[in-house]
Every structure is written in C-alpha cells, then in structure tokens.
C-alpha cells in the first residue's frame, strides 16, 4: 500500500519510519512535506517523531496548523488511516484529531528508555495482529508524554474503548502512577489512544525503533504490519466492490 511519512521541519524519526515501511515491510512509501496540501495518493499517513517547528509554543501546536494537516484532517474524516508516533501523536492532539493533551513529564525530565505497554484493543486496523493483553516492550524518547484530560473526558474515552495502549509492569499488571512502569505520569497510564472511528491512532512509544532483529527487539513490527495489511485489505475490498 502507498504510505506517506509527513516531514515537518524538526522531524527526526521520519527516515526510521520510512525505512521500516519501505524496506522491512516492502511497501510503496513516500515523504510528504509539511507545505504540501495533498497526500499524493497515500493511504496510510504517518506523523513521525521529532520536534516539529522546534516544539515552539507547545509540542505539536504549530505543526498542527501547517498546510499538510488540512489534507490529513480530510483523509482522517474520510476514514483514512493516520498514525502519530511520539511528536506525531502530539501533533494529532493539537490538531484535534485525537482527544486530550500532553503535559511535561511528571519528573520534568526527558526520558529515553524502554517501557512496557499492554495492548487494550485488537479490533483496530493498527492492532489486529496483536493479542488482547499482550505486553510489548518499546522505547520512548520524550519530554512531554504526560497524557491529560478532564476526568469526565477520560471516563468517556474509556467507555468508548479509545485507550489502545497503556503503560504496564513487565508482567502486564497495572502501572498506576508507579514511575518505574508509568514513565511520565500519564493519566490512567495512557500511552496510546484512537479516535472514535478507530482509523486515527497516536502513541508515545516508538514502534519503528524496534521493528528489526538487528535492533534487538521486534515488538513494534506487528503494529506497523497491521496498519499496512489492513489498508491493503481495505483496498482489495474496495476494488472487489467496484
């Protein structure tokens, strides 16, 4: 399937995602510039990690208003797949494509280390290759990953099953506020959320940094493989319907 990786000034994980999509998963991949106002026919859009626009004002705030985001919004509203990783997740929050907001990590430190994630939902295009309750080990690298929203909004998020990944102990037990397992103080240990339609996903950890055996960890590959294969399957169905 044709995958587009958006490049903002300050993105720094764009080539990593491109590499996994193009060379590991053997997909047709392209870079999309933040000034572009079309998605060049891409079906899966990935907003990569980094520091878009230097994180000026707030992480993701200025990137959310860039021309390409208008096209990304239309793509998302039409049911197209959008994945935001780390800074890409922050951009999706600022753009209003996902609910909630990010605060500084509770420790006030930038964190670069591995965490454990529990898979909370497997009926999504991004997670159908994962098992319910499966524990994944993935790296994080962020200063603002402390997910927050009003308690009533968090209740609604849970009721709608929009919490897709939660920080957890290595055995999958609840992390709570334990900083060993919930690294940044995220409300309800939320590490990744989707929109109501399930076609937009954001997560703080970096699946593209753990998708090849040479990196010592392949726990991230199933997420990216789910997305590209779900997209391809949807295209085949659409083709058959025509």
């Amino acid at each position: 399937m044709r995958c587009g990786v958006v490049v903002f000034p300050g993105s720094n994980c764009d080539h990593d995602v491109y590499h996994v999509l193009k060379h590991v998963l053997q997909q047709d991949a392209a870079f999309l510039w933040h000034q572009d106002d079309t998605l060049k026919g891409c079906e899966l859009i990935v907003l990569p990690g980094g520091f878009a626009y230097g994180d000026y004002l707030r992480a993701g705030a200025l990137a959310a208003l860039s021309p390409v985001m208008g096209a990304v919004k239309r793509h998302a509203e039409a049911g197209g797949l959008v994945l935001g990783i780390c800074n890409g997740f922050q951009v999706l929050l600022e753009a209003g494509l996902l609910p909630g907001a990010m605060r500084r990590n509770a420790s006030l430190r930038f964190l670069g280390r591995d965490v454990h994630l529990r898979v909370e939902r497997t009926d999504l295009p991004f997670t159908w290759k994962l098992r319910q309750g499966q524990v994944l080990r993935m790296p994080i690298a962020h200063g603002e990953g402390n997910y927050e929203d009003a308690p009533a909004k968090l209740d609604a998020l849970e009721a709608n099953r929009q919490v897709v990944f939660r920080y957890a102990a290595p055995d999958g037990a609840d992390a709570g506020d334990d900083p060993r397992w919930n690294p940044n103080g995220a409300a309800r240990a939320i590490a990744g959320v989707c929109n109501a339609g399930g076609n937009v996903l954001g997560l703080m950890p970096h699946p593209e940094r753990c998708s090849e055996p040479i990196l010592g960890n392949t726990d991230g590959l199933a997420l990216l493989a789910s997305a590209v294969e779900a997209g391809s399957a949807a295209l085949l169905r659409a083709g058959a319907a025509r």
Partner: protein, 83 residues
C-alpha cells in the same frame, strides 16, 4: 493597541513545573509559598484601536493557537493605546 495574553495551566490539572518551582521556593527561604502555576505571557501589538474588536480577536487567538484549552486557561488584558 497593545495587549498582554497570559496562559497558565488549569487549576484542576497538576502542573509539574509549577510544583517544582514551589518546592524550590520553599527550599530557599519562602516557606509561605503554597502553590505556583507556571505559564506563558505574550505581548501582542495590534493594528486596531477598537478595544472590543481587539478583545474578541485576542480571545480567538487563544482558542485557536496560544492556549491549549484542554489543559490551559488564558486571560486577555488590553494595555494602553499608542498616543
């Protein structure tokens, strides 16, 4: 016309930065400090002298960009007009 916009974390949301600053103030001899909210301030020059229009536009700026209203509140203050 000049204006000052102040953006700060909402009361009900934990402000890790403000808490660290409060703890530091307590430590260096200001034990009476109970709470600190760390925010941002913007000084904005506008090419209008109509306070009503300016206020409306500034609030819109806050809603659209300057504040993230999920976690932040804002206040808008019109400063003296240019002579």
């Amino acid at each position: 016309m000049k204006a000052r916009v102040t953006v700060y974390p909402r009361r009900e949301i934990l402000d890790p930065q403000g808490k660290a600053i409060r703890d530091a103030l307590n430590r260096v001899g200001f034990p009476a400090v109970e709470d600190v909210r760390a925010g941002k301030s913007f000084e904005i020059s506008l090419g209008t002298e109509d306070p009503e229009a300016a206020g409306r536009e500034l609030r819109e700026m806050c809603e659209r960009l300057l504040a993230n209203t999920v976690v932040e509140d804002y206040s808008v203050e019109l400063l003296e007009s240019r002579p």
